[in-house]
């Protein structure tokens, strides 16, 4: 199976969607491409293809460890997309469907990029392709969110290009000949010019960290997730952020080969803990349940960053956490979208008693909330436990204490909002909107399956996934 199909099929699907004449049947392209993409990526997960050493794009162990999660999330979001776009039949969906498919293709390219420049191009292209998705609702608030996303995200992406230049110059200064594949850069090792490597690390961490949504570069996130449709939030939080995280992992491996690994790990740990603290504080204050999900995403990006800072064991837990977080966040965003549509509002002040109007979505929202706050035996519990254990093993007691403290505060913040929305008596106005947008099987099943997958990931983590994560860690940490 050719891994390039993962990139080509969605992009061809996007072109087809752009040319497709009928607004009503066009959304079916989403699950069609989603199924093909998932089949290919799981095929490649089970039967990994050989990696040509100097290749710019390849399904390498890191791509193998992460990309199938993105595929799976996209497939379920795509299945949800058909009934969702049928409800929103008043809006033309040509640009929306095409952009969504383009985002999938470019994400696949970003995950498989083994070249500094190709990685940057893919990330930049994902950023731009996501713009029409955020703007789908066409309201003034959506425009504002899109503007902030572009301004903050655009600056982040510009800085990561500058960082890529610095890393390129570090290689050139050390006698390199302009081969910017990560393998070649790592092979140069201590030959890379150290001041330039450090400059590159700072810029790339800030740049890709912006895309990932690490604090303090997370400011675009609450607005974008709050105003975009739930399906877009799910793909941004579970897909786009992971490509930025794997970019940081790849760059970290080069920095570590250059002999600055300890510095890189320290910065990752600090920025991760800071993200968790910021997210916990904002979670205690927010009243909007979609913005709440954005802060929760910032928190989980912090967890990933902390995991990456704790060496091989921590990185293994972080890769596990990518899976748990992507699947659970997907369920949360989709069920939140259902609640938002039926309730006609998105803050605790406007919405209450949704357990009476949308019992299924409310139930999944509550369950999903417990899952992201690490309820056993779901996936995120075990991955977060892995991060804590890695912190203990590394002797980082302070970091582990802050980590656990933030989890507790985040739990308080999340339960406050979620139960505020679910409990109580529904407002009379919500009864009419809930009649207009009732829960249907089509919008209940995808988040339910996502929750089921998250449970399955926790109770019976497949051996092939453990092996894939271990392979990725071996790629990223060649000499532990």
């Amino acid at each position: 199976m050719n891994p390039f199909l993962l990139i080509v099929v969605p992009l061809a699907g996007a072109a087809l969607a752009a040319a497709w004449p009928d607004n009503r049947t066009r959304p079916w392209l989403l699950p069609a491409v989603g199924v093909i993409h998932t089949v290919i990526s799981f095929w490649l997960l089970v039967v990994p293809p050989p990696v040509v050493p100097g290749a710019w794009l390849a399904f390498d162990p890191l791509a193998r460890a992460v990309l199938p999660a993105v595929s799976l999330l996209f497939l379920l979001c795509a299945v949800y997309g058909v009934p969702y776009l049928a409800v929103r039949a008043e809006r033309p969906n040509r640009v929306f469907v095409a952009s969504l498919l383009a985002v999938l293709g470019l994400l696949s390219a970003g995950h498989q990029a083994r070249h500094l420049g190709v990685l940057w191009i893919a990330t930049e292209a994902v950023t731009l392709a996501a713009v029409p998705l955020l703007h789908f609702n066409g309201t003034a608030r959506a425009f504002e969110a899109t503007w902030k996303y572009l301004l903050v995200g655009g600056t982040g992406i510009a800085l990561s290009l500058l960082g890529s230049f610095c890393l390129g110059y570090a290689s050139l200064h050390g006698g390199g000949e302009g081969d910017l594949t990560f393998a070649a850069l790592s092979a140069q090792g201590a030959g890379l010019s150290r001041p330039w490597v450090l400059a590159a690390w700072v810029l790339l961490l800030v740049g890709y960290g912006t895309k990932m949504g690490l604090a303090p570069m997370h400011t675009w996130k609450p607005d974008a997730y709050g105003e975009a449709p739930g399906i877009v939030g799910a793909i941004l939080a579970g897909g786009v952020t992971t490509v930025a995280f794997t970019a940081i992992l790849r760059v970290r491996a080069v920095v570590s080969a250059a002999g600055a690994g300890a510095t890189a790990d320290r910065t990752l740990l600090v920025i991760g803990l800071f993200s968790m603290v910021v997210a916990a504080l904002f979670l205690l204050g927010t009243r909007d349940f979609k913005r709440m999900l954005a802060y929760s995403s910032v928190e989980h990006m912090g967890i990933l960053s902390i995991g990456a800072a704790l060496g091989g064991v921590g990185a293994l837990a972080a890769l596990f956490h990518i899976w748990g977080n992507s699947l659970t966040k997907g369920a949360l965003f989709l069920s939140a979208g259902n609640i938002r549509r039926s309730a006609g509002g998105h803050t605790m002040d406007e919405v209450r008693g949704m357990s009476a109007l949308t019992p299924w979505s409310a139930g999944m929202f509550v369950t999903g909330m417990f899952v992201v706050t690490a309820l056993p035996p779901f996936g995120p519990f075990f991955s977060e436990l892995g991060v804590v254990r890695a912190a203990f093993a590394a002797g980082k007691w302070g970091a582990a204490a802050i980590f656990l403290g933030c989890l507790v505060f985040a739990f308080f913040g999340l339960t406050r909002v979620v139960f505020g929305v679910v409990d109580g008596r529904p407002r009379p106005a919500a009864r009419t909107t809930a009649r207009r947008f009732p829960e249907t099987v089509g919008v209940i099943l995808p988040p339910l399956i996502l929750l089921g997958l998250s449970l399955w990931l926790g109770v019976a983590t497949p051996a092939v996934l453990r092996e894939a994560w271990a392979g990725a860690v071996a790629q990223l940490f060649p000499n532990p």
Binding site: I121, E124, K148, A158, F165, C166, P222
Partner: protein, 214 residues
């Protein structure tokens, strides 16, 4: 390569940075950014001793994009929005000028501290790049009007482009990828125009973009 001519152009670009920080009228800000973009666009031609089709094409694309297309779009956005002045910036013009001047000096000092290849020694490329990036940031943070912020983003991008010239021989692809940043700017500006057509806001003041805050 003709180092002194290059340094002259970079010096000009650094001067234009300060001009951009000091101008309150949007047309002159747009003109400053356009001139800077064109000056930087011709630099790859001066760096090559032999005529090279690829480099010529990139130079032509850069000059056309940064010097004509984007300024034209910006002027159109300005007309549709019916504004031509940055009235109340978050950061005043004199403080931003002082910051920009200080940043330029710091950039020169920083460039001395970083190790350079022998063929780049004595060139202002790194100082010019850092100074432009800083100027871009000051405009992005310190200005309230969306069009001024886009101009700030353009200057930031020009700085990155300048830095990329260090690598243009070794990895032309990476440097040319920077053109995608221009596409980002294009989307910014088209966004403004489309929004004006939709009449969602009255003054195009990003200060008004404050419904969403925590």
């Amino acid at each position: 390569m003709n180092n002194s001519t290059l340094n002259l152009i970079i010096g000009l670009a650094m001067g234009l940075n300060l001009l951009a920080l000091g101008s309150s009228r949007l047309p002159s800000l747009i003109r400053t950014v356009a001139v800077q973009g064109m000056a930087l666009g011709v630099m790859p031609l001066l760096m090559e001793t032999h005529f090279n089709w690829m480099v010529a094409l990139v130079a032509f694309g850069t000059v056309a994009g940064k010097g004509f297309v984007i300024p034209h779009l910006l002027r159109r956005a300005m007309r549709t929005a019916n504004i031509d002045r940055e009235v109340e910036p978050f950061l005043g013009f004199v403080p931003s000028l002082l910051l920009g001047a200080g940043g330029t000096i710091a950039a020169v000092a920083l460039a001395r501290a970083l190790p350079l290849l022998p063929e780049h020694a004595g060139s202002l490329l790194v100082s010019g790049a850092v100074a432009s990036v800083l100027t871009g940031f000051i405009l992005l943070i310190g200005r309230a009007k969306a069009i001024s912020q886009v101009c700030g983003y353009l200057i930031l991008e020009n700085g990155i482009y300048l830095f990329g010239l260090l690598l243009i021989r070794a990895t032309p692809l990476l440097v040319e990828a920077g053109i995608l940043l221009d596409l980002t700017v294009g989307i910014f500006v088209i966004g403004i125009i489309v929004d004006r057509i939709q009449r969602a806001f009255d003054s195009l003041d990003t200060r008004k973009l404050t419904v969403l805050r925590e």
